[in-house]
């Protein structure tokens, strides 16, 4: 029974620590979770850098990026639109982009009951003002054609 003292010592130490320690969990979503810098969250596509080459769409392993033709927008194949419901957040698109127009933000991917609400569209908002990306919303049937 020479084990007992060491066990007791450990037990008491662990207990005391557990008493003074803060809870390991966070009351999400009341409390915000801080994600570190460089976290791969929602996309940010700077349309003024984008040339519409479509390399992001070609290399996307889950086919989440589609280039949509926009009237009055003449660069390349169109505007990249990200379907976050398909996205696996690997950011190969950022890697493939020759202009460095795509980058991850610290914004966690949103939750929606309808996958169509998870389409990230940068065409409407002036991107430079919106941290964390463009407008989320339904795509008037444009994406479903792809």
């Amino acid at each position: 029974m020479r084990l007992l003292p060491t066990l007791l010592k450990d037990a008491i130490r662990t207990l005391l620590r557990a008493v003074v320690r803060r809870p390991a969990t966070v009351r999400y979503p009341e409390e915000k979770i801080e994600v570190p810098k460089g976290f791969r969250g929602q996309h940010m596509i700077e349309l003024d850098k984008c040339v519409g080459c479509g390399l992001c769409a070609r290399d996307c392993p889950s086919g989440a990026i589609v280039l949509v033709k926009e009237p009055g927008y003449s660069r390349g194949l169109g505007v990249p639109v990200v379907d976050l419901s398909k996205c696996i957040f690997c950011f190969q698109c950022a890697e493939s982009c020759p202009k460095g127009a795509i980058s991850p933000t610290q914004q966690l991917a949103p939750v929606a009951s309808d996958p169509h609400d998870l389409v990230l569209d940068f065409r409407v908002v002036s991107v430079s003002h919106v941290r964390g990306g463009g407008r989320l919303g339904k795509q008037e049937g444009k994406l479903s054609s792809h």
Partner: protein, 548 residues
């Protein structure tokens, strides 16, 4: 060394100090392996790749000699009727499952194999359907809708044994697996393992995607050891390309791989504690594991699926302040791990549940081709990082392989805790001697033609990738041999003779990448009656059976 083969050896080339390729005539492989086994007593079969070349099937036996990998290649004409070659199982018992996989996927019939049936595909898959054959369109395959039929769970064998079927459905863990145990009272006499319930056809899918897409496909072979998979894939592709990656990348890859190992081992240790009924320890270990997850998030940008390794580099660079953050997050871990080591070495509950349970002897471990901590806990000093070093392991002085002699469940757990401590050292060292430079070089999209075999020490053991490239942007063949696959045969061995109640703990000790059990069907051979019970009730049940 191989010249004893004489005229049967068609060609032999040594591409690097630790990689050799040999081609033998059809049927000479058993002779070759016997000769090699004589020269290298520690020889193990690391993997068996079958490649459909159109009118021929090439079989590649990746043999792990003491350090190097020798790939023994043999070509078989397809022709009419089944393709027949001699089985290696009589020479290397561990070849059993590898050959069953090759039979299942390519329809190669191994003469002399004790139990050649389907392994990954369902038993009722159409006769002659072998998805990796080029003439078969695997995508067209749909499982036949049949009336659910309860399979007979009593084997025809006479004797005083109970047949106990565990799985395939299991709510607590991730993957389904089926075990058929033969039990004598409380003791397991024999076990048959059936896998393939989570077969996703990744190898076939990889042939239809580009190299860029395959990286993310391979990363998802296993969520827990995703860094090992993406690293091994990148190394294989880079080797075929002849791409030299910057030194900084090599050290960053070490850090990511070791963080991944820490996370995987601590996950397992928690699960093990839970299996032993020691839920407090489970909570503590998993709480401390959060530090590793946070460090992983800081380094790679995500907690679990890291997407850190890219062909030709890593996805992001680290700054000195980030390194400090990661290291300070990991600092309290050492003391905790030392404490857990103490707990595993002294706690009477753990000792009673794991000591001298599920013993795998050294010779069995070699014969059955065990790998990873399972192999090292049986006294075989083999760690890929040590014997066949990749990335920057050669330059790190703090790395040492953990080898234990006992060979029981306890040794396999303790080996993992000690590996965690080594991992911490290695992470610190790799960050402290991080060389400058770029973190990425551009890789071409088209690869090859060429072929390469790469191995990586994943948390569960040696992970092997074989790539055959044909110069296009899609691989011609990508073979993935996961460590759990080759650890299944040793698992069956170590389960023989353990008490039924110790089965979950022993199962967890190989860190299986599949589920074990909590609800089982028990069939009483005597009365033919069957009933359900929960695994918690098994000890009780076994006592009752023992009395009656």
């Amino acid at each position: 060394m191989k010249q004893e083969l004489g005229g049967d050896l068609i060609s032999y080339r040594r591409v690097s100090p630790l990689r050799a390729w040999a081609e033998v005539v059809l049927g000479a492989h058993t002779k070759a392996v016997r000769a090699l086994k004589h020269a290298f007593p520690d020889l193990r079969l690391s993997g068996l790749t079958g490649v459909d070349l159109g009118d021929k099937i090439a079989l590649l036996y990746h043999l792990r000699l003491s350090k190097a990998i020798l790939t023994l290649r043999m070509e078989v004409e397809k022709g009419e009727g089944p393709v027949v070659v001699d089985s290696l199982t009589p020479v290397i018992p561990g070849a059993n499952l590898h050959e069953r996989e090759a039979y299942d996927m390519l329809g190669v019939v191994f003469k002399g194999h004790p139990n050649l049936k389907r392994l990954l595909l369902p038993d009722d898959a159409p006769e002659g359907f072998h998805p990796l054959r080029k003439e078969v369109e695997a995508r067209r395959f749909r499982p036949v809708e049949t009336e659910p039929k309860l399979k007979p769970v009593i084997t025809g064998e006479e004797g005083p044994y109970l047949t106990l079927i565990i799985g395939p459905q299991h709510p607590a863990l991730h993957e389904p697996e089926r075990f058929v145990f033969k039990v004598d009272g409380e003791v397991v006499v024999d076990v048959d393992i059936r896998i393939g319930y989570a077969h996703r056809g990744i190898e076939e899918a990889a042939e239809h995607r580009s190299y860029v897409h395959d990286l993310y496909l391979c990363e998802r072979v296993c969520g827990i050891c995703n860094v090992a998979h993406s690293l091994c894939y990148c190394l294989t592709v880079e080797r075929v390309l002849g791409l030299e990656v910057p030194r900084r990348v090599q050290f960053l890859r070490v850090a990511a791989a070791e963080l991944n190992r820490l996370h995987s081992h601590m996950l397992l240790l928690g699960v093990a504690a839970e299996e032993m009924g020691f839920s407090t320890l489970f909570m503590y270990i998993w709480r401390d594991r959060e530090a590793v997850m946070d460090a992983m998030e800081l380094l790679t940008g995500n907690r679990v699926i890291s997407s850190f390794n890219r062909i030709g580099g890593v996805s992001r660079d680290v700054s000195p302040s980030l390194i400090n953050k990661i290291l300070s997050r990991l600092r309290p871990l050492r003391e905790r791990l030392e404490h857990y080591l103490d707990v595993f070495k002294t706690d009477p509950t753990i000792l009673a549940r794991t000591e001298k349970v599920g013993i795998l002897t050294r010779s069995d471990a070699i014969d059955l081709c065990a790998t990873g901590p399972t192999l090292r806990a049986s006294g075989v000093d083999f760690d890929v990082r040590d014997k066949d070093p990749y990335v920057a392991y050669e330059e790190l002085s703090t790395f040492r392989p953990i080898v234990l002699k006992e060979g029981d469940s306890w040794a396999r757990y303790v080996a993992r805790i000690e590996e965690c401590l080594v991992s911490l050292d290695v992470i610190e060292e790799s960050f402290s001697c991080l060389p400058g430079g770029k973190v990425r070089v551009r890789a071409p999209r088209r690869v090859g033609p060429g072929e390469a075999v790469c191995t990586v020490e994943a948390p569960r053991g040696e992970l092997l990738y074989y790539l055959l490239a044909n110069g296009t942007d899609k691989p011609a063949r990508l073979k993935i041999r996961t460590p759990t696959f080759t650890n299944l045969a040793p698992l069956a061995k170590m389960l023989q003779g353990v008490y039924l109640a110790d089965v979950p703990v022993t199962l967890a000790s190989i860190d299986p990448c599949f589920s074990c059990t909590d609800r089982v069907v028990v069939v009483d051979v005597g009365s033919g009656r069957s009933w359900f019970c929960y695994i918690d009730e098994l000890p009780k049940l076994a006592r009752r059976l023992g009395r009656s």
